[in-house]
């Protein structure tokens, strides 16, 4: 038996786990300021999961822990059965080659054309001939509807187009996990709808799993399969989009329906109004 087959027999491939991402009791602090507190979260394979919450509640930090750019202070972040915090740089980079990430404003390389942006990872990580890279890049750009913009520079693109190019770049190597950091920020309704549809269709077509960090409630609830709601560094509730819409938890209700006042007060805490204006008994 050839040596390679013996090795394969000795280490049979593990059956795919039900959950691609498992986060267990994760705490994370910047210096002494706690950002994440006891997070538990799972992302099933093939699903699109949203992580929602107010700005600064720790959503993006959580995404960076999953991508391995930050390490948890305690607890474990597992992706495809590997604990991200325990990987050396080589393994971490090998894992990241199987992930794609769409940044908030695209993060396109401004000194490269649309084509070169999408081809970047292929050129860095593969030895494919130029002709094949050309075909693959055009296929990715075609998938996001921007094959005709291949020669344009990022500065010539609208916000929605830049986000679509960034999406084409994120799926360049057919990742198993696609992460979206605020994908809808600053987009007009048409671009938002386009991005939303692409996220669903690409996730299903590639057989990938997606995590969407967002505070855009209505668009996300139409798109995703499951929602985790975060506040002040902790998961406060989770469920299907219908569960979230029907939730009577005061914070979730205020967030989903955009109410001005609620558990999160309209007024930032401060001294009594009358005292600040120096009227009434206190100011007399």
């Amino acid at each position: 038996m050839p040596a390679g087959l013996i090795e394969l027999a000795a280490f049979p491939p593990r059956p795919p786990m039900e959950n691609l991402v498992e986060i267990k009791d994760v705490n994370f602090s910047y210096d002494v300021r706690p950002v994440l507190k006891g997070i538990n979260l799972t992302v099933p394979r093939g699903k699109i999961v949203a992580i929602m919450g107010l700005s600064g509640c720790g959503k993006t930090t959580l995404l960076r822990l999953i991508g391995g750019t930050l390490r948890a202070s305690s607890g474990s972040v597992e992706v495809a059965g590997r604990v991200m915090g325990e990987l050396g740089q080589g393994d971490l980079y090998a894992m990241r080659r199987r992930m794609g990430m769409l940044f908030q404003f695209g993060a396109l390389f401004t000194d490269m054309s649309v084509f070169d942006n999408v081809a970047f990872q292929m050129r860095e990580h593969t030895r494919l001939p130029d002709s094949m890279i050309q075909d693959l890049v055009l296929m990715k750009l075609h998938a996001v509807g921007l094959r005709g913009a291949q020669h344009m520079m990022p500065s010539e693109l609208s916000g929605g187009m830049a986000r679509r190019v960034a999406l084409a770049r994120a799926i360049a190597l057919d990742p198993m996990l696609i992460m979206y950091d605020e994908p809808f920020t600053g987009l007009d309704p048409i671009s938002m709808g386009v991005i939303s549809n692409l996220m669903r269709s690409l996730n299903d077509a590639l057989g990938a799993t997606s995590i969407v960090v967002t505070h855009d409630v209505q668009e996300s609830l139409k798109l995703v399969d499951y929602v985790y709601f975060m506040a002040d560094g902790a998961v406060v509730t989770h469920g299907t989009p219908d569960d979230i819409r029907k939730s009577d938890a005061p914070f979730v209700h205020q967030f989903v329906w955009g109410e001005m006042d609620g558990p999160l007060p309209f007024h930032y805490p401060g001294a009594a109004y009358a005292r600040d204006l120096e009227v009434g008994p206190a100011g007399a």
């Binding site: 991508g67 750019t69 971490l92 980079y93 090998a94 990241r96 080659r97 992930m99 990430m101 940044f103 908030q104 404003f105 993060a107 396109l108 390389f109 401004t110 970047f120 990872q121 860095e124 990580h125």
Partner: protein
């Protein structure tokens, strides 16, 4: 009162510890840049691109400045030397001033202002717009892919620019002394040829410009990479690059001159 003194001492301690920490971080960054330079040599077209941006695009400011500095040296040198009947030695004065000092130092100061600040701003903006993070998430090491080629591009550009500065400066001195004032051309060139020593003057000047190139490029890249990802952060980092590089050039010039020309 004792509390105020304690607070004051604590403030000094905090500054010192912060400075040492930053120095250590900068040293580690520099070491990583060198260790991960293999990409720069394996894919030399990345370095060529930086040679164009740091070197070729700096040519105009270097050539124009070199010409004016040489012309000023010609005028000042003639003015002083003629008092002693040694106006023929103006070529020597121009050439030695340029190759030993002004070529490497002024070219490095101009390089720091033009190319160094551009490197800091570019990397700082790449960080602010998450391009560096995107590269990391794509499993591409930004130090190897972004910093390394810029470092080697700057390092190779600097001595070439200093040499061009000196050559153009000598030509500027020739224009003033020979063409305009009428110093004998044969005396101008022959005295220069006799006085300028390849090892002592030219090679030492090249060594200086290489050292300045390392200092300016390393400072510019570190400041860009370490810049807070905001408009204010990038602006502050760009200013620090120019100020720190200029001081480093002048300080290093003193040390190198002491070592090379006085045997200290």
């Amino acid at each position: 009162m004792p509390e105020r003194i304690a607070g004051y001492l604590r403030g000094i301690g905090h500054q010192v510890v912060g400075g040492l920490w930053r120095l250590g971080y900068a040293s580690r960054f520099f070491a990583l840049t060198l260790l991960r330079s293999a990409v720069s040599f394996r894919r030399f077209h990345l370095v060529m691109r930086e040679l164009y941006f740091a070197g070729v695009l700096s040519l105009i400011i270097i050539v124009v400045s070199g010409l004016f500095v040489g012309m000023v040296l010609g005028l000042q040198g003639y003015e002083t030397l003629q008092k002693y009947g040694a106006s023929d030695a103006v070529g020597t004065l121009v050439a030695l001033s340029l190759t030993r000092e002004l070529g490497p130092v002024v070219a490095a100061l101009l390089f720091a202002s033009r190319a160094g600040s551009a490197m800091t701003a570019e990397i700082g903006l790449m960080k602010a717009t998450e391009q560096i993070s995107a590269m990391e998430m794509m499993a591409v090491d930004p130090i190897a892919r972004v910093v390394g080629p810029r470092f080697w591009g700057g390092l190779i550009s600097m001595p070439l620019l200093a040499a061009i500065f000196s050559a153009v400066g000598v030509f500027g001195g020739y224009l003033i002394a020979v063409v305009m004032i009428g110093v004998d051309a044969g005396a101008f060139w022959s005295q220069m040829q006799n006085a300028v020593d390849l090892r002592q003057d030219i090679v030492n000047g090249v060594i200086k410009s290489v050292v300045f190139g390392v200092a300016v490029t390393a400072i510019a890249l570190f400041e860009g990479y370490d810049a807070p990802p905001t408009a204010e952060g990038v602006s502050g980092a760009t200013t620090r690059t120019v100020v720190t590089s200029s001081l480093a050039i002048l300080g290093l010039d003193f040390v190198l001159t002491a070592l090379m020309f006085t045997g200290v």
